[in-house]
């Protein structure tokens, strides 16, 4: 980052001039370097305190038997080996992947539809854009409690509404069945996050030059053809961003399951982060929890890198 600054300062030095000027320029160069260091220092400090140090500490912890209280012992890769044979963790990973695979396309589709709906530059479109975006600014935990109440049997307003329409019985306990619980979580997440996807996709739409679409229209392309062959390819960078966001978010899902389903029924909705939470704070085994966290981080990094690579390569095809 500092290299160009140095070069420019250096070329300035080569002007034929007195030694004094030379020295002064050297001082300027040093001062600039110092300023640069000082300017990045706060960011470095934050990064070190809140990311690098905790990360290093997590790595160290993951190689120990580290109970919250009691004796610690170094066990090398023992925690990692245990994780690969831990049925509870493996099924949590499995469930998280299924959840991600279901939720990502649904979110993308809903986001695209919403973005299409509010694309026009009218006042009404701005109002609806705001309406669709509103749930995004609600905290996930608050939204989860809201849905928990809405869908309660007998007392929940949504349950009552659906019962009034004859869709289900008012005593139906959707949380009491794995599919029902999953559907409620899915509805919550779509309602809560589709607005953000819409906004990102909308900015992608608006960055596509109007002329390209007009030219395609002149060439006789239908609306659908223009969407598939013009809009989507040009939207690729935005799609990459949206997909990475939603996949990362889904792989780290915790709050909505902790509050809405409490992992139930019969532990069928325990996600990877939920299992890490249980290992660390219920079984009080911090070392094992740290190892699971690092494994999840690795998976997350691989998935995100893979996604970015895929979407970048197809750009050149």
């Amino acid at each position: 980052m500092t290299a160009p600054v140095v070069d420019r300062a250096g070329s300035a030095l080569r002007q034929p001039s007195a030694r004094r000027a030379d020295r002064r320029a050297g001082a300027v160069q040093g001062r600039r370097r110092l300023t640069g260091v000082l300017l990045v220092l706060p960011a470095l400090l934050l990064l070190g305190t809140f990311f690098l140090y905790p990360l290093a500490r997590t790595v160290v912890m993951s190689t120990f038997t580290w109970p919250l209280l009691g004796n610690r012992a170094f066990i090398g890769l023992g925690n990692y080996l245990e994780a690969f044979g831990d049925q509870a963790f493996l099924s949590a990973i499995g469930f998280t992947l299924v959840y991600t695979l279901v939720v990502t396309p649904v979110l993308l589709a809903v986001g695209l539809v919403l973005a299409g709906l509010v694309q026009r530059r009218t006042r009404a479109a701005r109002i609806f854009q705001t309406v669709y975006f509103l749930p995004v600014v609600i905290g996930l935990a608050s939204a989860s409690y809201l849905f928990l109440f809405l869908w309660q049997p007998v007392i929940g307003p949504t349950t009552n509404l659906l019962a009034g329409l004859g869709v289900l019985d008012v005593t139906t306990n959707l949380f009491g069945d794995a599919v029902g619980a999953f559907v409620v979580v899915l509805l919550l997440v779509v309602w809560k996050t589709a607005g953000l996807q819409m906004l990102l996709l909308l900015s992608g739409f608006q960055s596509i030059p109007q002329e390209v679409n007009e030219a395609a229209a002149v060439d006789g392309a239908t609306g659908w053809q223009r969407f598939v062959h013009v809009t989507l390819p040009l939207l690729r960078p935005t799609l990459a961003l949206v997909l990475v966001f939603s996949v990362a978010g889904s792989l780290l899902a915790f709050d909505q399951f902790y509050i809405l389903t409490a992992g139930g029924p019969d532990n069928s909705t325990i996600t990877a982060v939920y299992q890490i939470f249980r290992s660390s704070f219920i079984q009080l085994d911090l070392g094992y929890g740290a190892a699971l966290s690092l494994l999840l981080m690795l998976v997350l990094g691989l998935v995100s890198a893979g996604q970015l690579l895929l979407l970048r390569n197809s750009d050149h095809s």
């Binding site: 209280l69 249980r278 219920i282």
Partner: protein, 428 residues
């Protein structure tokens, strides 16, 4: 070395020592101002605040309460201990006392407890939970006991004798069916099907009363696949199959099943003293209480509540003990009993607790014989809503495969217990 240099060195040493000392004392509140700190769970605020006020008004030592969220109490306390910065005292749900005492986090108060004139009248279950290797690490603080609540109005409507509550599994099942037969939104029985802690409290007594158990006496062997456990699970399965329970019980982690009983639409439910207080205050339901029954008769109860312990790092154990001693005596226990907390002094029940409501006699009797499974991994085994205990009950009652549920639970519970034993031996 010159004299000035020596003087400077001496000064530096003094300063450094001062720093170290002040660093130590900052741990558990400052020692010089006679203040001792006490951690309680947030929902105990209204219970313990009047207690602290009464104590502070009459003592030079002052108690300062810190509220900690209930769901994270154990983690937060353990973190404080691990960080070398614990409070002077903590009020621990008695099931967690073995974990903290075995980790060396609690102060040994054996001699002080034994010197109490009423040492033999303390709730035996509370003392047992506070005991490790024959040393005592706390005093009983608040009492609770699980019993069977039943709705007398619904019993009468259903043609059952409101003064003759069920005393066996069969009678309980028949009573539940009779109440359900009233139709509408009336249900026979309700429990919290997704709550480990609720069920160790109100379901285990059904097993104990049938001469069974969930853990061996020494706490090292799981007995989840034993016949008495099968019988009790089968009872709940039958209750569910006979449609005597509302659908919410399957996913209830505590509050909803209780609310349903308070609304007067549930015939029976196992619960404790806090529920008694809520029902007395509400006044809407005409209810009775009875001991939780065994399969063919017999009764049992889970002795719940808190132990009060001094933390190992406390810098004012004498001040803390002052509060512990006072908290177990008449004044404090009366303040608690007035809020319908069961006194942990068996000798005080007749004078300060039972007179307010004859139904309280059932709780007083239950505490005397109350039991608790003793284990440093109680939280992981029984209180975790996703743990082996909660999972076993949910699978057996709602999915119906009692045998497989028990087999898997037994295997997982034993593995957890073996890991503990293994750790302990590794330490030696």
């Amino acid at each position: 070395m010159t004299r000035t240099a020596l003087k400077a060195l001496a000064l530096a040493t003094v300063a450094a020592t001062g720093l170290v000392l002040s660093g130590c004392s900052s741990g558990a509140g400052s020692a010089d101002d006679d203040t001792v700190t006490l951690w309680i769970r947030d929902y105990q605020r209204e219970l313990v605040t009047p207690l602290a006020e009464a104590f502070n008004a009459t003592h030079e030592t002052q108690v300062e309460i810190t509220l900690v969220p209930t769901t994270t109490f154990v983690q937060k306390l353990a973190t404080a201990v691990a960080g070398g910065n614990p409070p002077d005292m903590a009020s621990l749900d008695l099931v967690f006392t073995p974990y903290f005492s075995q980790a060396g986090a609690l102060l040994d108060v054996t001699d002080r407890v034994e010197a109490l004139p009423y040492a033999d009248d303390l709730s035996p279950a509370h003392v047992a939970q506070a005991t490790f290797d024959e040393r005592v690490y706390g005093v009983p603080f608040t009492g609770d006991a699980s019993v069977l609540f039943y709705n007398k109005g619904l019993f009468a409507e259903a043609g059952l004798d409101p003064d003759d509550p069920p005393a066996t599994y069969d009678e309980l099942l028949e009573a539940a069916k009779a109440v359900r037969a009233l139709g509408g939104s009336n249900y026979g029985f309700a429990f919290s099907g997704a709550c480990g802690g609720c069920n160790i409290f109100s379901f285990t007594p059904l097993i104990w009363a049938s001469d069974g158990s969930v853990l061996s006496e020494d706490g090292r062997t799981a007995q989840l696949d034993s016949q008495p456990v099968t019988d009790a699970l089968q009872l709940y399965r039958d209750l569910w199959e006979a449609d005597t329970m509302p659908s919410l019980v399957r996913t209830d982690a505590g509050p909803n099943a209780a609310t349903a009983f308070q609304e007067g639409v549930v015939g029976m439910r196992g619960d404790g003293t806090a529920f008694l207080g809520a029902l007395e205050a509400g006044g809407q339901v005409d209810f009775g209480v009875a001991p939780l029954p065994g399969r063919d008769g017999g009764t049992a109860s889970f002795a719940g509540g808190d132990d009060l312990s001094i933390m190992s790092g406390s810098d004012d154990p004498d001040g803390a003990w002052e509060f512990l001693e006072w908290a177990t005596d008449v004044e404090a226990q009366t303040i608690l009993a007035d809020q319908s907390v069961l006194p942990i002094r068996l000798d005080l029940h007749d004078s300060i607790y039972v007179p307010a409501d004859p139904r309280r006699q059932v709780f007083a009797d239950a505490l005397e014989v109350g039991r608790v499974p003793y284990s440093p991994v109680e939280n992981e085994l029984f209180n975790d809503n996703n743990g082996v205990w909660a999972t076993m009950i949910s699978r057996a009652v709602f999915d119906g495969d009692v045998e497989a549920a028990q087999r898997d639970a037994q295997r997982d519970a034993q593995a957890t217990l073996d890991a503990v034993v293994h750790d302990e031996e590794g330490d030696r």
